[in-house]
């Protein structure tokens, strides 16, 4: 009998939490936004998402099995999330082969080249997205027109794209404003944009779900959005004709998607609340610099990747509060 008994060091009980459960909660949190994008962009949105997921999971399996020669870990759910996030960050009419290239870059270069789950420095989906943005600028920035927008055109520019174009032509905001979608449209998501970024509301619902289910904490999203708000508000107050109001910035250009789903990626963001605040403020500030002074109308993807690189430094510099004070 006694050889049937396990002897191992304490603790002898374990939470029923698991990596899979956490990952699948992230997937659940993305479903409202996905459903909304199918409503707006039709079957195309589903097609792009499915291709991205299948390619990501497939590449993870193949590379781990045949190149890295380790036990494939596709069931942990992380490749599924990378695939979904990649799809969320591209236009709903992206050709299938570009999606597959994006998935390969995300998984192969963004994740597995560092050693796989937990070791990657950058958010894999963003590595894929930025690669596509640089390699296929035309396809990556021609967004399909949303259903029921009343526009006959096949493609529709993003709100921030419209804004940037107007400002480049020297128009004041008061003149451009007529062409811009209203804040309520932005909140609901009936405008042009990447597949998963259009509805701020659906993304916020997903974010609240993740907060309640303790997948994320408030620190990163609040720091990103809060700092964007502050920077945008300052410029808007200086010259409302040259700079649009802060609410507009928060509702457009993937700010919600970035703040809630991309920047909060556990692996590539800091460990402590304080560290996440620094990281989030960095993302918000860099995003606003790109939007206000850079060539790209959006910018949060680059900002997150830049701050990902600082995460190890932040982890070294910001320690949790130790019990018994600092020595």
């Amino acid at each position: 009998m006694s050889n049937l008994i396990t002897v191992s060091p304490s603790p002898h009980v374990h939470t029923d939490e698991s990596v899979q459960k956490i990952m699948y909660r992230v997937v659940v949190a993305m479903i409202p936004a996905l459903v909304w994008s199918v409503v707006v962009f039709g079957f195309d949105a589903l097609r792009v998402t499915m291709i991205a997921i299948a390619a990501s999971v497939g590449f993870e399996y193949l590379v781990q099995r045949y190149i890295m020669k380790v036990k494939p870990s596709v069931t942990d759910g992380s490749a599924l999330i990378t695939g979904m996030l990649l799809a969320f960050n591209v236009p709903a009419n992206l050709p299938w082969w570009i999606i597959i290239i994006g998935a390969f870059v995300s998984i192969g270069i963004g994740k597995l080249s560092f050693g796989g789950l937990g070791t990657n420095i950058f958010n894999p989906a963003l590595v894929g997205r930025v690669f596509l943005l640089i390699s296929f600028p035309v396809q990556m920035t021609s967004y399909p027109a949303p259903a029921g927008s009343g526009v006959d055109a096949v493609t529709a520019p993003t709100p921030l794209g419209l804004l940037k174009e107007g400002l480049m032509n020297g128009q004041p905001i008061s003149e451009i404003a007529g062409n811009l979608p209203a804040a309520t449209d932005l909140l609901m998501g009936t405008t042009g944009g990447s597949l998963g970024e259009i509805s701020a509301l659906m993304l916020i619902i997903g974010g609240i779900y993740m907060l309640i289910r303790k997948v994320i904490t408030w620190h990163t999203p609040v720091a990103v959005l809060g700092s964007m708000f502050v920077v945008a508000a300052i410029f808007w107050m200086i010259d409302p004709e040259a700079y649009i109001g802060p609410a507009y910035h928060l509702l457009t250009g993937g700010a919600m998607l970035g703040a809630i789903f991309m920047a909060t990626d556990m692996v590539s963001s800091p460990m402590t609340g304080k560290g996440q605040l620094i990281y989030g403020v960095g993302i918000g500030a860099i995003t606003m610099s790109i939007r206000l002074f850079g060539a790209y109308p959006e910018g949060i993807s680059f900002a997150i990747l830049i701050m990902n690189a600082f995460t190890p430094l932040i982890n070294n510099a910001v320690k949790p509060k130790r019990f018994g004070g600092m020595k």
Partner: protein, 443 residues
């Protein structure tokens, strides 16, 4: 808002199945095997030899130094031999084995149940008597109590804290003791206060024992200077540093002892043992043990003589359940897994827990996803994921500067890790290496 400690902490399922079971007296064993090292510190030195007749309560091993404790026979009978017996991990340890014959107690022990409140002994005499009676911390740490009662030069105790937290899941022995022996615990507390020369005592009890809080609060009002503080349920609140923080708001500095902030902590079981030692002249040779588990037929709280084999207690609650995968001495968070069921109950055995096989198996280890749950769970404000990595890579200096020695081995990190990483295993390993490094540096 109920008080609790601030940093970290977890809330594992409580599973206190035996909370409603009154303390029962376990059957006398036929043979006891009493180890000479049941406490932290120097092992005791046997003062009996093979063939000697002993009575219940008779001294059989003498304290081996200042940090050590006397050991008394828990039974009457004949010393069969002094021999090496396997301890919980299977290592041979010296023990005194006694064949039981009848149940003849020393005449000096007052066996009545009558409550004795008055005591004429002065502080130092109480300490002396506690020392003679072999009392140690009964929550599991087994640090000799008399040592705590003599603060180092220049330090003064201000508060006595009585630990009635029982934050380990499953265990209920302290809970039952508080319900059934409340006055005795309070008198014991007064004696400890006198010994320490303090006028304030706090009894900390978690809010999942409302009956004990009610009873102890009501009774405590009749004793001067004792306050019962209900605490929010959170593991590891029974840790000394966490209890002090929760009850007084004071924070024991890194590397220091509770006395550095004017506190001395004792467990309710120890307070009861002090009462019996001083007022009833009864040394420590029996204790309450919770015997429990999800599949156990009749979970119970038994008063057990030290040296009783664990297997007999298991029989007493209906036998080892079919599905048992692990047997633990103590609670599920900090207890020790037993390699064999013949090991004896010692002064520090708070419970015997039988865990079903499917819970006993560890999950497959996955890569760290840097979710920081271990960091949020750590009551000492450490970064377990990082400590595991530096311990694994043998980066001892780094481990030390990341405060690995502050770890209280509560297991909250391993419990909470969704990737099932064996954080505490590696941290323990790291601690032992860093400990050796620090000792080498001193010499």
């Amino acid at each position: 808002m109920l008080k609790t400690f601030k940093l970290g902490g977890i809330h594992p399922p409580e599973n206190k199945f035996s909370a409603g079971q009154a303390i029962q007296i376990a059957e006398l064993p036929k043979v006891v095997s009493i180890p000479v090292a049941q406490h932290i510190g120097t092992p005791s030195v046997p003062v009996v030899a093979k063939g000697d007749k002993v009575k219940v309560g008779q001294l059989i091993a003498k304290s081996g130094g200042f940090v050590s404790a006397n050991i008394h026979s828990s039974v009457s009978g004949t010393v069969a031999k002094l021999d090496l017996v396997p301890d919980s991990l299977g290592y041979p340890k010296q023990a005194i084995i006694i064949n039981v014959d009848g149940d003849e107690w020393l005449e000096t022990i007052d066996r009545s149940d009558a409550l004795v409140k008055e005591c004429d002994l002065d502080g130092p005499s109480i300490v002396q008597k506690v020392n003679e009676s072999g009392i140690v911390g009964m929550g599991g740490a087994t640090f000799p109590t008399h040592v705590k009662l003599v603060p180092p030069k220049g330090m003064k105790a201000e508060y006595l804290l009585i630990n009635g937290v029982e934050c380990e899941p499953y265990l209920t022995s302290d809970h039952r003791l508080m319900l059934e022996k409340s006055d005795e615990i309070l008198v014991g507390t007064c004696l400890l206060m006198k010994a320490l020369n303090v006028d304030k005592a706090i009894i900390g009890i978690e809010n999942n024992k409302p009956d004990a809080i009610r009873l102890m609060t009501e009774k405590a009002s009749k004793y001067k200077g004792i306050q019962v503080v209900p605490l929010k349920v959170k593991y590891p609140q029974g840790g000394e540093k966490q209890l002090i923080k929760a009850a007084t708001g004071r924070e024991v500095p890194s590397g220091a002892l509770p006395i550095a902030v004017g506190c001395v902590v004792s467990n309710v079981g120890s307070a009861f043992a002090v009462y019996e030692a001083i007022q009833k002249n009864k040394p420590l040779f029996e204790r309450v043990v919770t015997i429990t588990g999800k599949s156990v037929q009749n979970p119970a709280n038994l008063k057990v003589r030290i040296g009783t084999p664990v297997s007999e207690l298991i029989t007493a609650v209906g036998g080892l359940p079919e599905d048992t995968g692990k047997v633990i001495s103590g609670g599920p968070m900090m207890g020790k897994a037993l390699a064999n069921m013949e090991v004896p109950v010692t002064k520090g055995t708070s419970g015997i827990l039988m865990i079903p096989a499917k819970e006993a198996r560890r999950n497959e280890v996955q890569p760290c996803i840097r979710c920081s749950r271990c960091v949020s769970a750590c009551p000492m404000g450490l970064e377990p994921y990082l400590l595991m990595t530096v311990a694994e890579k043998n980066l001892l200096e780094r481990a030390e500067s990341e405060r690995i020695m502050d770890c209280i081995e509560c297991g909250s990190c391993s419990y909470t890790c969704p990737a099932s990483r064996p954080l505490l295993d590696y941290i323990r390993f790291g601690k032992s290496r860093v400990g050796a490094l620090i000792r080498a540096r001193k010499n």
